[in-house]
Subunit: 323 residues, 2 copies
């Protein structure tokens, strides 16, 4: 949640000149995304204002993955999904370099992120996620996640001796660093292109309508029901107190199934998939916790939030996913 790369007005103007989008009128560094640097750009052409997001991809995003991410946006946009389309340069490239770092100009979408969703909004998110899964059935590019469950177990295990420094309860929740999930991990479930990070931050609303799904920089090829489990774990708990909100979880599932009914196997797997989803966020947060320089610009997120949700799904997941 910070601007990492500092660009001068001149550098931004030079970047914008590569696109047929008019003259630069404003550029504001925005506190959006934790991995990249973002600016809200305004240009003027023929007397009309146009807005874009300029993203400079920092080290955490592998440049080799960008063609996948950006092609996915264009694929979804062409199918009418509420995602920002990429703006192509005058040479028809959807990616270019700034200060030697990959950068892209993408469409600005209206809408605000919801911290405290109501049932209608949770239902709308479920619908949007299922539509995303359906709209990518003919998207042929693939990307393997770098955050598979075995990797996440290893990430937690790397800090096994120090988990208690984060919180005394953390080693009790994850005595095996999550390894038991590997034994019960489902096989043979339907796969496809998944967002894999559909937190409230990454969904824009105007009222009850989803106007934008953003930040596809963890998107990959994976289990569709895992994406639903990630979204369930990200949306269905109170921001303060971390309490499960059954009505929100139900609305999310109902919205999803209104477009893409789950198979019997997917539904049965949801409790274990949700635990895996939580482990994925525990793992990166544990790693960040010990890796973030104490004077860093990034505020560390506490791994306990998703460790507690993991414990919830382990203890009460079956009930949570009953219709």
């Amino acid at each position: 949640m910070a601007v990492y790369t500092h660009l001068t007005a001149g550098e931004i103007a030079q970047f914008i000149a590569r696109f047929d989008v008019g003259a630069l009128r404003s550029a504001k560094g925005i506190a959006e995304g934790v991995s990249n640097s973002n600016w809200l750009i305004e240009t003027e052409r023929d007397g009309a204002a146009h807005r874009f997001i300029l993203t400079v991809f920092e080290a955490r995003t592998d440049a080799a993955d960008l063609p996948f991410f950006l092609s996915l946006l264009d694929h979804l946009a062409s199918k009418g999904q509420p995602v920002p389309r990429t703006i192509h340069t005058r040479d028809d490239a959807n990616m270019t370099l700034v200060r030697g770092k990959p950068a892209a100009l993408i469409e600005f979408l209206p809408g605000v992120s919801i911290d405290d969703p109501d049932e209608a909004q949770a239902h709308a998110v479920g619908v949007a996620l299922a539509d995303l899964h359906l709209a990518t059935r003919d998207f042929t590019q693939t990307r393997q996640t770098s955050l598979g469950i075995p990797t996440c177990v290893g990430m937690v295990r790397d800090h096994a001796e120090r988990l208690g420094e984060v919180d005394p309860a953390l080693p009790d929740i994850l005595p095996d660093c999550g390894a038991s999930l590997l034994e019960s991990w489902p096989e043979g479930l339907p796969g496809g292109t998944i967002h894999a990070d559909l937190f409230p931050d990454n969904v824009l609303f105007v009222g009850e309508q989803v106007t934008g799904l953003i930040d596809f920089y963890f998107a990959c090829t994976g289990l569709l029901a895992f994406d639903l489990a990630v979204t369930h774990a990200a949306w269905s708990f109170t921001a303060t107190g971390n309490d499960f909100r059954p009505s929100i979880g139900r609305a999310l599932l109902a919205g999803y199934e209104s477009r893409r009914p789950l198979t019997q196997e997917e539904r049965q797997a949801l409790p274990i998939l949700a635990q895996g989803a939580c482990l994925r966020f525990v793992a990166t947060r544990v790693e960040d916790w010990f890796a973030t320089p104490a004077d860093g610009l990034v505020r560390r997120k506490n791994p306990m939030q998703f460790a507690q949700r993991l414990a919830f799904y382990r203890d009460r997941g079956e009930a949570a996913f009953q219709s």
Copy 2:
């Protein structure tokens, strides 16, 4: 340079509803200002988009000073100066509370900040600063600065024993913590309302035209030539290398004097005023250096940048201010 207060979309929508500005369409936390939290807001009314800056004033800004700052904006805007006007609530207040903190909605101005000004831009800044001084001659409110030179000397002195921790050269530049400036500080120069912080960050340009003067939250009643000295110290050195740029300094002065010629006494005082201006930024940066928690969101600015400029003005200030 960070969002300090986290507001939910619901809180922002409730805030916006106090104003007759249409419905909330977008809110992005922006990395602007070091002391307050800012959002770029977009609303829609009658099919047209409108943009504003929402500022939540954090502890560093004294709430008792806000009526001065906000009235000053309205005074300057009414005189056609390029400053954002404040938006008044339906109850005609230019200030309201969010989460118990004072907050204001102000006009969004187009333009970008220049890191590396050319002579025409430096001239334009000089013109804009003089126009600001002329336009406030009939502004009757006053505010005493909390960062007068005696205070700044005291702030540096509070850390006298530890200045060498910042940089071994710092105690050599300021052996007396700046106290000698008090002996030669000029008296009887023309006073008025000054911006007191007109850094490149706080001036918006479209091309060579100044489209916005922003961030008036250090504005106060003071010496007009001190404001010019602050601006000179902030604009006339290279960002990398910290080298004096004579042509930029000359253009700034020429622009200023094209609207408000300096008196003989003011011109003679510029070298000492410029040293005082530098001391003011050394003082706050020294204080921040030792006060900023190591895990803070704020990147500390190195006091050495302005210590070196202070030394420059002490050694070569007379030559620097010759026409």
